[in-house]
């Protein structure tokens, strides 16, 4: 793919991925077919900061943050256990941002 397009993608979407994965994404994007550009640009990535906000306020304790990033199974488990009796809620404050970035990476990986 064209370097300018890759740079544009990295500039717009870089914040949705882990910083240590950016080199991998850039290398892969440079090597993929031009026809995938539209589909990649149409991908809807979740914002880690928004998910973190949801996790910190009330709904996070009921698993809404997990539902938002597409982890329905763990979301239901968190809902039924009232945030894992508080422990899971605390753990999620620390991991939800990276988990969101991992989910975004999985989404992008399907096209790389």
């Amino acid at each position: 793919m064209d370097t300018q397009k890759v740079d544009l993608f990295m500039m717009i979407n870089g914040k949705y991925f882990k910083a240590e994965h950016l080199n991998y994404i850039r290398e892969k994007l440079l090597n993929i077919d031009e026809t995938k550009w539209n589909r990649i640009m149409a991908l809807d990535f979740k914002d880690p900061n928004s998910i973190m906000l949801v996790s910190l306020i009330g709904p996070g304790a009921l698993g809404v943050d997990r539902f938002l990033i597409g982890e329905t199974g763990t979301g239901v488990a968190k809902l039924l256990t009232c945030g894992g009796f508080g422990i899971w809620t605390i753990i999620d404050w620390f991991i939800i941002m990276d988990l969101t970035r991992d989910k975004n990476m999985e989404k992008l990986q399907a096209y790389l």
């Binding site: 910083a19 240590e20 994404i25 508080g86 422990i87 899971w88 620390f94």
Partner: protein
């Protein structure tokens, strides 16, 4: 023979993730103060979430678990001892509760000098561990690889050197 070693650069983000494994056990104290095992569970869950991360993050997550694991036998004995005293007192009160006198003495008789010394030791040990964890977290966040005495060696053995984060190049 090529003796040149290649060193992998650890990203700033990885320092933060590794530091969080210690920091989380500290925050876990809020939820788990009456039951210190909660911190261990929280550390273990954090490791499970980070098991596909880089070696540096996994290594520190395991060290954080082991740091919490040291406390478990000591805290469990303290809990068992305290519960034993309370249950014994309840038994005595149930037996002699109808004689019209106050029964605070069975509870106080159970609190012996060795018990008080042990509880003091437990409190000091927990406070020391708490500050040691905070110190480690700060140092790791700055990029220093803090190795705890004895635990670090066990962590080396436990932590797999396999590259699990395939996207990190």
């Amino acid at each position: 023979m090529n003796n040149q070693k290649t060193y992998k650069v650890i990203h700033q983000n990885e320092y933060e993730q590794a530091a969080n494994s210690y920091l989380m056990t500290v925050v876990g104290v809020i939820a788990g103060l009456p039951l210190p095992i909660i911190n261990l569970i929280a550390s273990f869950c954090y490791y499970l979430a980070k098991r596909k991360s880089s070696y540096f993050v996994r290594w520190h997550s395991i060290q954080a678990i082991l740091a919490q694991l040291i406390l478990i036998p000591f805290n469990s004995i303290a809990w068992a001892w305290t519960l034993g005293i309370i249950l014994k007192s309840i038994g005595l009160i149930a037996e002699y509760g109808n004689d019209g006198r106050h029964h605070i003495w069975p509870l106080l008789e159970g609190i012996t000098v060795p018990y008080l010394f042990y509880m003091l030791f437990i409190v000091l040990f927990n406070i020391f561990e708490f500050f040691a964890v905070i110190y480690t977290s700060i140092k790791v966040k700055k990029g220093e690889n803090v190795r705890w005495f004895l635990i670090a060696g066990i962590t080396d053995r436990l932590c797999s050197k396999e590259k699990r984060d395939i996207y990190n190049i």
